[in-house]
């Protein structure tokens, strides 16, 4: 960022200082001074604009990175049910084949029984296909195989729907949004990020009004908070080898504000880091696990773009709660009665 701003003012540092110094003592020409001031103002403006666009680019880059990581996690979440559905269907189709043979043999048996005593050959065939069908195994396993296949397909459908929901672009336009739904989708999309270290609990206020916001960006904030919570828990439970922690997500509303609380049972934020967590690029995580942009982006989205608030409460060794408050646009409040009940979590 610094590099970018500096590159817009190519003059070396010494030269710039020199020119400022020469401008300060009695202005030889007030017009020249005004021109210089104007010039400086323009430069500042440009720097500010650059800063903004850099920030936007960073947001975009972080988003892309997050999406890349999410995509791998989502692929895993989809591949697992696909694996067991495939195996179950294979089992079912073989079972069906054997049942068909059994039906054919039974029919034959019935026919010859009608015509008198069935021949020993017909009996032997029927008996063989009955033995071959391993009917008892099919009777106990087929219903489970069917049920699990149906569940597996639901799981895939759920993930795909959540993904669509999560990534739907807002195009920079604020629109009324059901935060409960946004949270439910984000939790599903992020499953692979938390499931090895934590259980996720939700307590979502069904009377939460719609909130006018940039839905995709708010989704990303929720995602960042969940991932941070999972990482903080991971530091305590070490990859799940010491049991799992809990991430609890609540929504409430009061006055003109909707509130989201994301609580983890992780390591907590050490005292000396507390002032810095929202700083861009402040991270305590190893390379590859964190870039220190998650909370900086959250701050920018919530505070700057939505005039909301973001804060946290933390206790070392107990955990952390991040609190996001968004103003509910009064105009939208009347829609709240149409607000859909929160979707149950899969």
């Amino acid at each position: 960022m610094v590099g970018l701003v500096a590159s817009e003012a190519p003059a070396p540092l010494g030269a710039r200082e020199g020119s400022t110094n020469s401008a300060r003592p009695p202005p030889r020409d007030s017009l020249a001074a005004v021109a210089e001031l104007e010039d400086q103002r323009r430069r500042l403006e440009k720097a500010l604009a650059d800063l903004k666009s850099t920030q936007a680019r960073l947001l975009q880059a972080h988003k892309l990175e997050a999406i890349g990581q999410l995509a791998a996690g989502i692929a895993h979440e989809i591949n697992t049910p696909t694996q067991y559905v495939t195996d179950n269907v294979e089992f079912l189709s073989r079972a069906f084949e054997r049942l068909c043979q059994l039906v054919v043999a039974s029919r034959e048996l019935l026919e010859s029984a009608k015509q008198g005593a069935p021949s020993s050959e017909v009996l032997a065939r029927a008996e063989a296909s009955l033995a071959n069908a391993r009917i008892d195994y099919i009777l106990t396993e087929a219903p489970k195989a069917l049920q699990q296949s149906v569940d597996g397909l639901h799981r895939v459908a759920n993930i795909v729907a959540a993904m669509k929901d999560f990534s739907h672009p807002s195009g920079g336009e604020k629109a009324p949004c059901d935060l409960n739904e946004a949270i439910a989708s984000t939790i599903i999309v992020a499953t692979n990020e938390w499931k090895y270290v934590a259980e996720v609990e939700t307590d979502l206020d069904p009377t939460l009004p719609l909130v006018r916001c940039l839905r995709d960006e708010v989704n990303q904030v929720i995602l960042n908070l969940i991932v941070n919570g999972a990482h903080a828990i991971d530091a305590v439970v070490i990859g799940g080898s010491k049991g799992k922690g809990t991430i609890r997500i609540e929504t409430t509303h009061d006055g003109g504000w909707a509130e989201i609380r994301v609580t983890d049972t992780g390591c907590g934020i050490p005292e000396k880091a507390r002032d810095r967590v929202f700083d861009p690029f402040f991270t305590t995580k190893p390379v590859g696990k964190g870039t220190g942009q998650g909370l900086a982006i959250a701050y920018s989205v919530i505070v700057e773009k939505h005039r909301g608030e973001i804060s946290f409460e933390t206790e070392l060794g107990r955990g952390t709660t991040f609190i996001v408050r968004l103003p509910v646009n009064v105009h939208e409040e009347r829609f709240s009665t149409f607000c859909a009940p929160p979707r149950p979590l899969a």
Binding site: H76, Q83, Y84, D87, E90, K244
Partner: protein, 376 residues
């Protein structure tokens, strides 16, 4: 035969059990929902093949396989993972023989496990089997590696040139084939030739592989270089024997034929020295001496290792059969056999020449090879 499946999602295990219930007579399927549970089961019972997920709470699959590799090296180690990213694949590759991706179709899964059974049945000598199964790195070829690195880092890197260098190192060659044929890279068709494999792998990954090999540089020296040169010569001769459409596969098979010798040199240097002495004194062919003293020949060991690594069956069969024409009736193993005989200066039996389809051309091929050799 006993297979242990490990996955943190119980439904995956249940479904695999159902899917394999037809084969229940031949295999015994055992399951565990965590790495810890798997290790406990391994303590108590004999397992032939382990198939594990990678990412699990607690002990992950890569750690589990490392432990299995240390304690029970003769168990065939297979990964079945839903992760599609390269990093995971590479990490697991170190201690796994094969890498399968979820969703893996039932036929492929059964084939891979059955192949492991088939291979262990081929190599009756438990000591050799253990040796081969324990190997996950072949002796390094430092010189070739330096050249590959220089090529890739230079300004004129091309897949074609890189492939030609890769072809000079049977170990690296085997590794790359194993990688492109792992589910992670494979797109349907099996890859059998070095050039396609190198193109698939790409220069970046190739570089990483070479660095990895180099870092763990094992055995080197004159003997290893001799094996390498002979294999490459035989590969070149094989090309003259087979029809154009089989050339790439035949080249690769000939190149990998003596991978078993490298494994033996690396894992049992004293025994292999005794074998050599015995062969020279008794005037018996090396592979016969190996069979007599070790119970298995380098062809068995090589075929076994390559098979474990998921190298395509045509190549494995050709490697297995390159000293024993009764074993693999294919034209390919005959061609490889003939090429090796020519390079070693051995007599080619009329039967072998007939099977390789070179009866009339044998003298010419031998001549051409000798001429080239003298020229070089």
């Amino acid at each position: 035969m006993r297979v242990l499946f490990v996955d943190d999602e119980p439904r995956v295990l249940e479904a695999i059990q159902r899917m394999l219930s037809d084969a229940a007579g031949a295999w015994e399927v055992i399951t565990a929902t965590s790495g810890e549970q798997a290790l406990a089961l391994l303590e108590d019972s004999r397992i032939d093949v382990i198939v594990t997920d990678i990412r699990m709470p607690g002990m992950d699959g890569a750690t589990l396989l490392n432990k299995v590799h240390e304690r029970w090296p003769s168990i065939t180690r297979i990964v079945l993972s839903g992760h599609t990213d390269q990093e995971h694949a590479m990490r697991a590759m170190g201690s796994a023989h094969q890498f399968l991706s979820k969703p893996c179709n039932p036929k492929r899964l059964t084939d891979v496990v059955e192949n492991a059974f088939y291979l262990s049945a081929l190599t009756p000598n438990a000591r050799v089997r253990e040796l081969a199964a324990a190997v996950h790195r072949l002796p390094a070829m430092p010189k070739v590696h330096e050249r590959i690195l220089a090529l890739i880092d230079g300004s004129r890197a091309s897949v074609r040139d890189a492939a030609d260098l890769v072809a000079q190192d049977p170990g690296l060659c085997a590794k790359i084939l194993r990688i492109v044929n792992s589910a992670f890279f494979a797109r349907g068709q099996l890859v059998r030739d070095v050039r396609t494999a190198t193109a698939r792998v790409g220069l970046d990954l190739l570089r990483a592989l070479v660095l990895q090999e180099r870092a763990s540089c094992g055995l080197s020296g004159a003997r290893v270089e001799q094996i390498q040169r002979d294999s490459l010569d035989a590969a070149a001769v094989t090309i003259r024997i087979v029809a154009p459409e089989h050339q790439r596969t035949a080249f690769t098979a000939a190149l990998l034929c003596d991978v078993g010798t490298l494994v033996l040199e690396q894992g049992a240097p004293d025994e292999i020295a005794a074998v050599r002495a015995y062969a020279t004194e008794g005037l018996v062919p090396i592979h016969v001496a190996e069979k007599e003293l070790l119970g298995s020949s380098h062809a068995d060991v090589g075929g076994y290792v390559l098979g474990l690594w998921g190298v395509p069956p045509v190549i494995v069969d050709a490697v297995l059969g390159h000293h024993d024409l009764g074993r693999d009736p294919s034209h390919l193993s005959a061609a490889v056999h003939v090429a090796h005989c020519i390079v070693a200066g051995d007599v080619v039996s009329p039967e072998a020449a007939r099977r390789a389809g070179v009866e009339s051309r044998l003298a010419d091929i031998r001549e051409a090879y000798l001429e080239e050799k003298h020229a070089a």
